[in-house]
Amino acid sequence: MWEQIVNLSFFAVLLRLLPPILLGALGGLLTDRGGVINIGIEGLMLVSAFTSISVGSASGSWVAGVLAGMLASVLVSLLMAFFTLQMKVDVIVAGFAVNIFGGAATVLLMSILYHSHGQYMPADPVRIPNVVIPFIEDIPVLGQLLSGHNVMVWLSFLAVLFCYVLLNHTPYGFHLRAVGEEPSAARSLGIDVQRIQYSALIWGGVFSGLAGAYLSTGMTSMFVREMTAGTGFLALAVVIFGNKNPVGILFGSLLFALAQTLVNTVETTPDNKVPSQLIAMIPYIVTVAVLSVYAVRKASTRRRKAAAV
């Protein structure tokens, strides 16, 4: 394992595992800041994963695939928005319904379009390409650090920056946060609360869409039923874990990806005797541990501050 850390392949794996959770969490972040908890990330990611590989391979363009995936995810988000904002369905119920819907709708479409219930592997698939940076690529350490990563890896870093700027430096971001924090205040200033919340859910769709597209057209080039395998829920946890801000979420996602990289490393270690169920617990135990340590420290600084004065 140390060898892998030294030769930086560990780093490459980490970066490959990062985008789905990071993008999913950013989607969750923007909806959450608009005052709508998004339980439906999982379902949105599935819808986009299916659409992007499907459209991508049909059109032969990964860009078209990714855009279509985002669009599909946005459409389902709009459906969710309609039910929560217009029909006043409890937002959590709506989120779960989106997950159920996404899981079933993708399989249904797959069986109609490709006569398969389990997976769709296009004959000549398109892939979101890797970015090879000339010159830098050949520099020993730097090359491995910077070159050869998937476009989506860079895009997800950009997305962090984007969300940061959006939330903290644009009028829209202020409106969004105001709506999430004090909707009545926003409304009294002529901000259309409902419209902002619609848009928040759309953002959720956009980023969940990117995350889903990466699963099927970046990490692999296939769609498999339920291929998100709980990533959406992890993303939800990361939103809260990351303190509901883009930078915190970046670190939260890195932690998760790191734990997953660790799982993969242990799983592929020769003569590994640890039962795989215990290995699989690593990310979750790490998260609970970090959460606890963080909370305990915060609690004790609260106490210390109170005591010190």
């Binding site: 794996v13 595992l17 997976q119 592997m121 498999v224 039923r225 291929m227 592929t268 020769p270 795989s276």
Partner: protein, 331 residues
């Protein structure tokens, strides 16, 4: 084994009606999970679909979903509807449910796969020698990693196994595979990893990449559903090799998937119903299908002939013979 060619096996009242062409045979398949698993269920489904095509059976496939709470009810409602001449189910999780139902509905005929159920006059069961099949796959993998003819092989004597979940049935695949590899060369090391689910293709791919790149593995056998598909992709990208599972997956990534360990649920079900139709199927017994009956085996299609060197193929044949004759016995 007792492959009932004796006509005395004819029993049950419904069978006599079937000879006539007026009422088509009605077959129901209950799947305690979902289609698209790249395993039993898809294979069973393929078998049932073939009944429709080849002798116009009226077929119905019911997916029970993954909540185990629903399964007993799902199967019973198929049985109690009385619509089916034959109800097919399988897997160890369903065996007790089926035994219970078979006792309560003595007029319903059942075909059960993957677990031996004996002594019930209305149940025919079929099991597969998957361990032997995996043994052969292991031997094959060992030959591949030692091969000098295959471009993607390296000198390291390390091969890989990827399982969907760390559960008995998958570990049976693994155990056979390891034994097969050791049979070829005691020094062969097998790296085993588990995905944790049968649907996580990206993780299957990551585990594949890690085994290939970090552990110098050059061929992996996957019993991991969609996880295996992910691994195939990794193998393809790196120019290494893979072995498919359950159904013939050689065409999924031609040239990369050198062969597949078959578990022929599809053929076995078709064969059983076909014999039932002819009045030849004997109930109350279970059959184990091995290489000879086509129950298990390696997928030896054109791609196999094209991509696998002659020497390896020859050795495989030899080992298969030894397995059939009992010269090799498994733990």
């Amino acid at each position: 084994a007792g492959c009932g060619s004796n006509k005395s096996g004819q029993s049950g009242s419904s069978q006599t009606d079937i000879g006539g062409s007026e009422a088509p045979l009605s077959v129901g398949l209950y799947i305690n999970g979902n289609l698209g698993d790249q395993g039993f269920f898809d294979s069973a489904n393929a078998g049932v679909q073939r009944m429709d095509k080849e002798f116009g059976a009226k077929i119905k496939v019911v997916e029970g979903g993954s909540n185990q709470t629903d399964w007993a009810v799902g199967l019973e409602s198929m049985v109690s509807s009385g619509k089916y001449d034959i109800v097919i189910a399988g897997t160890s999780q369903m065996s007790d449910i089926t035994i219970n139902l078979a006792k309560r509905y003595p007029n319903q005929k059942f075909i059960f796969f993957d677990v031996a159920i004996e002594g019930l006059p209305n149940v025919y069961s079929v099991i597969y020698d998957q361990k032997e099949g995996s043994f052969l796959a292991g031997a094959f993998a060992a030959l591949v990693t030692k091969s000098t003819e295959l471009k993607g092989s390296n000198p390291d004597k390390t091969i890989g196994f990827i399982g969907g979940m760390d559960i008995p049935i998958i570990n049976e695949f693994r155990s056979g595979y390891e034994q097969g590899a050791q049979y070829i060369d005691r020094d062969i090391k097998v790296i085993s990893s588990f995905v944790g689910s049968f649907s996580d293709a990206p993780k299957g791919k990551e585990l594949g990449l890690a085994q290939f790149k970090q552990q110098k593995v050059d061929v992996i056998f996957a019993a991991a559903g969609a996880g295996g598909l992910g691994m195939f992709e990794a193998a393809k990208e790196l120019g290494t090799y893979a072995i498919g599972c359950n159904v013939n997956q050689n065409e999924v990534q031609p040239g990369t998937v050198l062969t597949s360990m078959l578990k022929n649920v599809s053929d076995s079900l078709f064969r059983a119903v076909d014999r039932y139709k002819k009045g030849e199927l004997q109930f109350g017994v279970s059959e184990q299908l091995g290489f000879a009956e086509g129950g298990v085996g390696l997928a030896k299609d054109d791609l196999y002939s094209k991509n696998v060197p002659q020497t390896i193929r020859d050795q495989v044949e030899e080992i298969q013979k030894k397995l059939e004759s009992g010269e090799i016995t498994l733990k």
